[in-house]
Subunit: 197 residues, 2 copies
DNA sequence: AGAAGATACGTACAGTCTGTATGTATACTT
DNA sequence: AAGTATACATACAGACTGTACGTATCTTCT
C-alpha cells in the first residue's frame, strides 16, 4: 500500500483541508468533530491521534492559513525600488488574501478568541504582526516615518485587520482595497519625520 | 417582600455582574453556567428564564459593558473647543476604558467571535464603531480631514482596538496611551485636505 | 377580598459534544 | 520472522447546554 509517513501526511492534510472550510463556515464552536471526520471517511480516533484536541486541530488550521497569507504578503512586498512601495504592496496583498472567508473568520475573528489573545500574540500564530513590525522598522530606517514604532505597528495591524473585515462586505472589493491602501499611504505621510531635526 | 419588578432587576443585574467577571476571566467558552449562577445562589432555571440562552446572557453582558465605554467616550469627547481635540479625547477615553479586562476580553476579543462578526457590526453591539463614524464625519465637516470616510473610520476603529490590546500588556499604560493618541494625531494630519482645491 | 393568571424561579431529563482508554490491523525494524 | 510502533476504530465517561414541567409568590380583575 502506502508508506506510513505518506499515509500520515495524507490524512493530516485531508483533515486540515476539511477543517479549514468548516471552521470558516460555521466558526470554531459550531463545528462538531464527528461531522468533520465523517466527511473524510474517518472517525474521531484518527483526529485525536494526529492533533490531540480540537484546539490542536484548530492551531494546525491556523498555521497553514497563516503560512499562505505570509507567503502572499512577502511575495508582494518585494521587488519595488522604494521601501514605501514594498510596504503598501504588502498591505494590499494582505487585504487581497483576507477576501478569503477562511482568513477572515479563522485568522481575524476566531483565532484570538479560541487560542487566547496573549498566546496568539506570543506564539508564532499572528505572523502578520511580525511582518508588519519588520515593514515598519524598514520604513523608519529609510526615513519615511519616525516615532514610537511599536505603537505605529500595532495601529496599522489593527487598522488592516478591521478594514479587511469591513471590506469583505462591500460590493466592490478592489475599490475598497484601493481606498484603504490610499488612506494608509496618507496616514504614513502624517508620520513622516519633521524636516530639520 | 419585594415587588416582582424589583426582584427581576436585582436578579438580572446580579447575574450580569457575575457573568461579566467570569467571561472576562475565563472567556465565553470557559464559563459553565452552573458555576456562574451558583455564585449568585441561584440555579440555571433563573438564568434561562431571564436570558433565554448562554448567548443571550453574553449579549446582555456586552450591552452593559458597551454602554459603560460609550458613556466614558462621549463624556470625554465634548467640551473641547476644537473638533480634533474632542476626537482625540474620545480616542484616549476609549483606550483608558480598554484597560479593564472585561472590556478587552469581552468587547474586543470574544464579542465578534461569539455573536458573529456580521451581527456584531450590524446590531447595536459595536457602538464604538458608530461613535467613531460620527467623529470622523465631524472631522471631515470641520475640514480637518477628507477622503473615503468609511474607510478612514474602519482603519481607525481597528487601530484603536488593537492598540488597546497591545497596550494592556505594557508596563506603563499611560505612556502607551499617550504614544497611541499622538500617533493617531499625526496620522490624521496625513489625512488633511490638500490646500487649494 | 378572592379567584385567576402571570412571573420568578427550581428540578429533572434528554441530547450533544469533547476527551480518553483500549483494541486491532498494518507498516516498520532488527 | 518476530517484535514494535503507528494509524486508525470503538466504546465509554463526563461536562455542558437547553427544555419541559412543577411550584410558590406576586399581580390583576371583578
Amino acid at each position: 500500500m502506502a508508506t506510513k509517513a505518506e499515509q500520515r501526511e495524507r490524512t493530516r492534510a485531508e483533515i486540515v483541508r476539511i477543517a479549514t472550510r468548516r471552521f470558516a463556515e460555521s466558526g470554531y464552536a459550531g463545528v462538531a468533530l464527528e461531522d468533520l471526520v465523517a466527511e473524510a471517511g474517518l472517525t474521531r480516533g484518527a483526529l485525536y491521534h494526529h492533533f490531540g484536541s480540537k484546539q490542536g486541530l484548530f492551531q494546525a488550521v491556523v498555521e497553514q492559513a497563516q503560512a499562505g497569507v505570509a507567503e502572499a504578503v512577502e511575495h508582494a512586498a518585494s521587488g519595488h525600488d522604494d521601501v514605501l512601495g514594498d510596504f503598501l504592496a504588502g498591505c494590499r496583498a494582505f487585504l487581497e488574501a483576507s477576501l478569503a472567508p477562511e482568513v477572515r473568520r479563522i485568522l481575524l475573528v476566531d483565532g484570538p478568541a479560541v487560542l487566547g489573545w496573549d498566546a496568539w500574540r506570543d506564539g508564532d500564530l499572528d505572523t502578520s504582526v511580525r511582518h508588519l513590525d519588520a515593514g515598519v522598522a524598514e520604513l523608519a530606517d529609510a526615513g519615511v516615518i519616525d516615532g514610537e514604532l511599536d505603537t505605529v505597528a500595532a495601529l496599522l495591524s489593527g487598522a488592516l485587520n478591521e478594514v479587511a473585515l469591513v471590506n469583505a462586505r462591500a460590493h466592490d472589493h478592489e475599490r475598497g482595497i484601493d481606498a484603504a491602501v490610499d488612506v494608509v499611504r496618507r496616514m504614513l505621510r502624517g508620520l513622516a519625520p519633521v524636516r530639520g531635526t
